[in-house]
C-alpha cells in the first residue's frame, strides 16, 4: 500500500487530523531541507508537501515565490531533490507529496519523471497548474507506478467539475481554502465547513485544507473540519528568518514553531 493511503488509514483509526507542512526544496539549502523533513517527522508531522522550485509559479504568493527564487539562486536542480529524498528513505517512511509545476514535469517527460520520483521514494504529487482536463494521461501513468496524483478543489469549483475531480484524485483531495494564491491570511472563509462537507458526501478520500492557514488558531479550526491541514507560507517565512544563521538553529527554531501548529491542528491545545 502507498505510504499516503497507509498514513491516512492509521490516522482515521486514531481519529486524528493529518498535519502536512509544506517546504521548498533547497531553501536555504538541500541539506537543511532534509534535516527539516526529519525533524518535522519527529515532531509529529504526518505527511510532507515538498515544493519543487519553479521560476514562474502562478498559484503561489510572494512568500513561496521568494523561497523558490532563493532555492533556484542556490542552484538546486530536480536531480538534487530526488537524491535528497532517496537519502531520507534510508531512515524514514514519512509520506512525501511533491508540489511541482507541470512545466517542470513536461520538460522531464511526465512518465519518466513519475517513475524516477516514485523510485526515489516520493509518493505523490500536487500539480497546481494541471487542471483535471489535462491530467488524464498523467493519472494513467501514475497508476502504473503506484504514484498518487492529488487533485485540487477550489471554492470556485462548479458541481460538475467537482464530480469529475473527486473521481480522479488519488491519495487525498486538496481543498483550496480561499479564492486566491498561497499565503497567510487573518481569517478563514466562513463557507469552508459547508464546502468540505459537500466534498465528503461525494467521496471517501480524505480532504486536506491548504492556502492561507497561517496561525495555530486557524490550524485548530481547519483541523476540526478537514482530514488534513496544510501549512506552507507561514513555515517558509519562519525559515527565511533564520536563513542567514547556523543550520542547527534554523532547524530547531522552525521545528519549535511547527510544534504549536501540529498540536493545534490535532485539537490537543
Amino acid at each position: 500500500m502507498n505510504r499516503i493511503d497507509k498514513k491516512f488509514q492509521q490516522l482515521k483509526e486514531r481519529g486524528e487530523t493529518a498535519f502536512i507542512p509544506f517546504i521548498t526544496a533547497g531553501d536555504p539549502s538541500i541539506e537543511i531541507t532534509k534535516s527539516l523533513i526529519l525533524d518535522f517527522e519527529n515532531r509529529g508531522a504526518d505527511l510532507i508537501e515538498l515544493g519543487f522550485p519553479f521560476s514562474d509559479p502562478i498559484a503561489d504568493g510572494p512568500v513561496i515565490q521568494s523561497s523558490y527564487f532563493r532555492a533556484l539562486e542556490g542552484g538546486v536542480k530536480t536531480d538534487d531533490i530526488l537524491e535528497m529524498v532517496k537519502g531520507i528513505r534510508k531512515t524514514s517512511e514519512i509520506p512525501i507529496v511533491c508540489m511541482i509545476s507541470h512545466s517542470i514535469l513536461y520538460k522531464h517527460g511526465c512518465g519518466k519523471f513519475l517513475e524516477r520520483a516514485a523510485d526515489a521514494g516520493i509518493d505523490g504529487a500536487t500539480i497546481p497548474d494541471l487542471p483535471i482536463e489535462e491530467a488524464e494521461s498523467i493519472i494513467a501513468i501514475a497508476n502504473q507506478v503506484g504514484f498518487k496524483v492529488v487533485c485540487f478543489i477550489a471554492p470556485t469549483t462548479t458541481d460538475s467539475r467537482m464530480k469529475i475531480i473527486v473521481e480522479k484524485s488519488q491519495g487525498f483531495l486538496y481543498y483550496i481554502s480561499v479564492v486566491g494564491i498561497t499565503g497567510e491570511r487573518n481569517t478563514l472563509s466562513d463557507d469552508l465547513a459547508v464546502n468540505i462537507k459537500k466534498i465528503k458526501s461525494r467521496t471517501d478520500l480524505p480532504v486536506a485544507l491548504g492556502f492561507g492557514i497561517s496561525t495555530p488558531e486557524q490550524a485548530r479550526v481547519a483541523g476540526q473540519i478537514a482530514d488534513g491541514v496544510i501549512v506552507g507560507s507561514a513555515i517558509m517565512r519562519e525559515i527565511d528568518k533564520y536563513a542567514e544563521g547556523e543550520g542547527k538553529l534554523l532547524v530547531d527554531s522552525v521545528g519549535r514553531f511547527l510544534g504549536e501548529f501540529i498540536e493545534s491542528s490535532k485539537g490537543r491545545i
Binding site: F54, S55, D56, P57, I58, A59, D60, G61, P62, Q65, F69, L72, K77, T78, S101, H102, S103, I104, L105, Y106, K107, H108, G109, C110, G111, K112, E115, P128, D129, L130, P131, I132, E133, E134, E136, S137, A140, I141, Q144, V145, C151, F152, I153, A154, P155, T156, T157, T158, R161, I165, I176, V178, V179, G180, I181
Partner: protein, 413 residues
C-alpha cells in the same frame, strides 16, 4: 511507459478534426489550459460567453461601431514607394496599425474584451503590459466605459517605456510595478494571473496577446483578425490579387496572427514571423522562442518556450519591450510545425537601423516591435522579383520608443 504517453498524445492529436483550436483549446499538440483549478470555472465562463458574443449580431455591431468611430478603422494599406525603390525589389505595402487610436493594434483586442467583460457583468479590468501599448489600450477602453483598471508592468519596462506609463496614469489606470524575476513582461503576466486568482469573481483579465490558457489564444486571435480581413480586401482592391508574402513581428504574436489568419487558407501566400534576435544566440541574449526554443509550458499553454534543461524559464533580451518574452502563442507553434508559416529573427541593431530607415524614407516612425518586421523585409525583399508584393504589418507607432532609441544612439531627450 513512453509508448503509453505517446499513444495518448497521438489520440489527442487525432481528436482535432480540422477546427483550430479544438474544443479543449488545442492547436494540434499546442495550447490547452494549464492553469490552477481556482481559475478554471472563470475560463469556462469566458469561453461560453465569448462564443455566445461571437455569434451575437448586436455584440458584433457594437464592436464594429467602436472600431470604426473610436479606433478609426479601417487602417490604411499604404504603398511604401521610397522603401520599395530603395530595396529595388517587390512592391512593399505597410498595414498601418500605428494609425489606430492609441498607436497600435492592441486596441482591436481590448475593445472586444472590454465589451465582453461588461457582458459578463465584471466591474474591474486587469492586464499585463510589456511595451505599455497593451496597457494603454486597456486603460483607454476601461476609461471610455468607466471600468476600474489595474495594469501590471515590470519595473524594467516602466523605465524604458515611461511615456506609456504616464499615459496609463492620465487615463485613470492604476499601474502596479512588478519587482519580481526579470521585472519584464513575463513577470507582469505572473502577477496579473495571481491577482486574477484572488479577484476572479468580479474581475476580467484582458490578456494582451495570443498567449495564455484557452480561450485566450483563440479569442485574442479572433479580435485581431480584423487586420488580416481588411488587408485582404484592400490588396484585392489595389492590386486585384493576393500578396506573395506577409511579414509581421512576433513576441506573443497577436499582430502576426491577426494579419496571417485570414491568409492561412491561401497557401500561395508566404507567412513570415520575425522574432527578436537581440544581441546574440546565447541564452539571455535574445527572445526568439520559435527559432531557438523547445516545447514547454508557460503561462497556461503548451508552446515553444525558452527554458533550461530543468524546465526553468530562461532569461531573455530584446531592445523592444513588446518582444521581450520567453514564450509565444500556441497557434504560431502549430503553424511552425505544420510549416505553414516561417519564423526568422533579426538583431536589436538591425531593428534600430530599420526604425531609422523607415522614418527617413517614409516619414513613418515605427515601433521597435514593428521595426523587426521591417528589418527582415530589408534583408529579404531584394531576393524577390519586382513583380511580387510584400505586406508588412506595421503594428505600432514608435513614439513610445523615441527616448530608448535616442539613448542607444548616445543622445538624451
Amino acid at each position: 511507459m513512453e509508448a503509453e504517453t505517446k499513444n495518448i498524445t497521438e489520440q489527442q492529436e487525432m481528436q482535432c478534426d480540422g477546427t483550430i483550436p479544438d474544443k479543449s483549446g488545442h492547436f494540434g499538440k499546442f495550447g490547452g489550459k494549464f492553469i490552477p483549478e481556482t481559475l478554471m470555472p472563470a475560463l469556462e465562463q469566458l469561453e461560453r460567453e465569448y462564443l455566445l458574443a461571437k455569434n451575437d449580431t448586436k455584440f458584433n455591431e457594437e464592436l464594429q461601431y467602436y472600431l470604426r468611430e473610436y479606433v478609426g478603422r479601417p487602417s490604411p494599406l499604404y504603398l511604401a514607394k521610397r522603401l520599395t525603390k530603395k530595396l529595388n525589389g517587390p512592391k512593399i505595402y505597410l498595414k498601418r496599425e500605428d494609425l489606430n487610436h492609441t498607436g497600435a493594434h492592441k486596441i482591436n483586442n481590448t475593445m472586444g474584451q472590454v465589451l465582453l467583460a461588461m457582458r459578463m457583468g465584471k466591474k474591474r479590468i486587469i492586464a499585463e503590459t510589456g511595451a505599455g501599448q497593451h496597457g494603454v489600450a486597456t486603460a483607454t477602453a476601461a476609461a471610455m466605459f468607466g471600468l476600474k483598471c489595474d495594469v501590471y508592468m515590470g519595473e524594467e519596462d516602466m523605465r524604458r517605456q515611461s511615456l506609456n506609463l504616464f499615459k496609463m496614469k492620465l487615463l485613470g489606470t492604476n499601474v502596479i510595478p512588478v519587482k519580481t524575476g526579470s521585472k519584464t513582461l513575463k513577470d507582469a503576466t505572473n502577477e496579473a494571473l495571481r491577482d486574477w486568482m484572488s479577484s476572479v469573481r468580479e474581475t476580467h483579465y484582458i490578456i494582451g496577446s495570443v498567449v495564455g490558457p484557452h480561450p485566450y489564444p483563440m479569442m485574442v486571435r479572433d479580435f485581431q483578425t480584423i487586420i488580416g480581413r481588411e488587408t485582404k480586401e484592400q490588396i484585392l482592391t489595389l492590386e486585384n490579387r493576393l500578396p506573395d508574402c506577409i511579414i509581421a513581428c512576433v513576441g506573443g504574436g497577436s499582430n502576426a496572427i491577426g494579419i496571417f489568419y485570414p491568409f492561412i487558407e491561401n497557401e500561395e501566400v508566404k507567412l513570415i514571423g520575425v522574432e527578436a534576435g537581440g544581441v546574440g544566440y546565447d541564452v539571455g541574449q535574445h527572445a526568439a522562442s520559435l527559432s531557438k526554443g523547445e516545447r514547454g509550458i508557460l503561462h497556461g499553454s503548451l508552446s515553444y518556450v525558452l527554458q533550461d534543461s530543468d524546465g526553468q524559464t530562461s532569461k531573455v533580451h530584446s531592445i523592444s519591450a513588446g518582444l521581450d518574452y520567453p514564450g509565444v502563442g500556441p497557434e504560431h507553434s502549430y503553424l511552425k510545425d505544420e510549416k505553414r508559416a516561417e519564423y526568422v529573427s533579426v538583431t536589436d541593431d538591425e531593428a534600430v537601423e530599420a526604425f531609422n530607415l523607415c522614418a527617413r524614407l517614409e516619414g513613418i516612425i515605427p515601433a521597435l516591435e514593428a521595426s523587426h518586421a521591417i528589418a527582415y523585409t530589408i534583408k529579404f525583399a531584394p531576393s524577390l522579383d519586382k513583380n511580387k508584393i510584400i505586406v508588412v504589418n506595421l503594428s505600432g507607432s514608435g513614439d513610445k520608443d523615441s527616448s530608448e532609441v535616442a539613448r542607444k544612439m548616445g543622445m538624451s531627450l
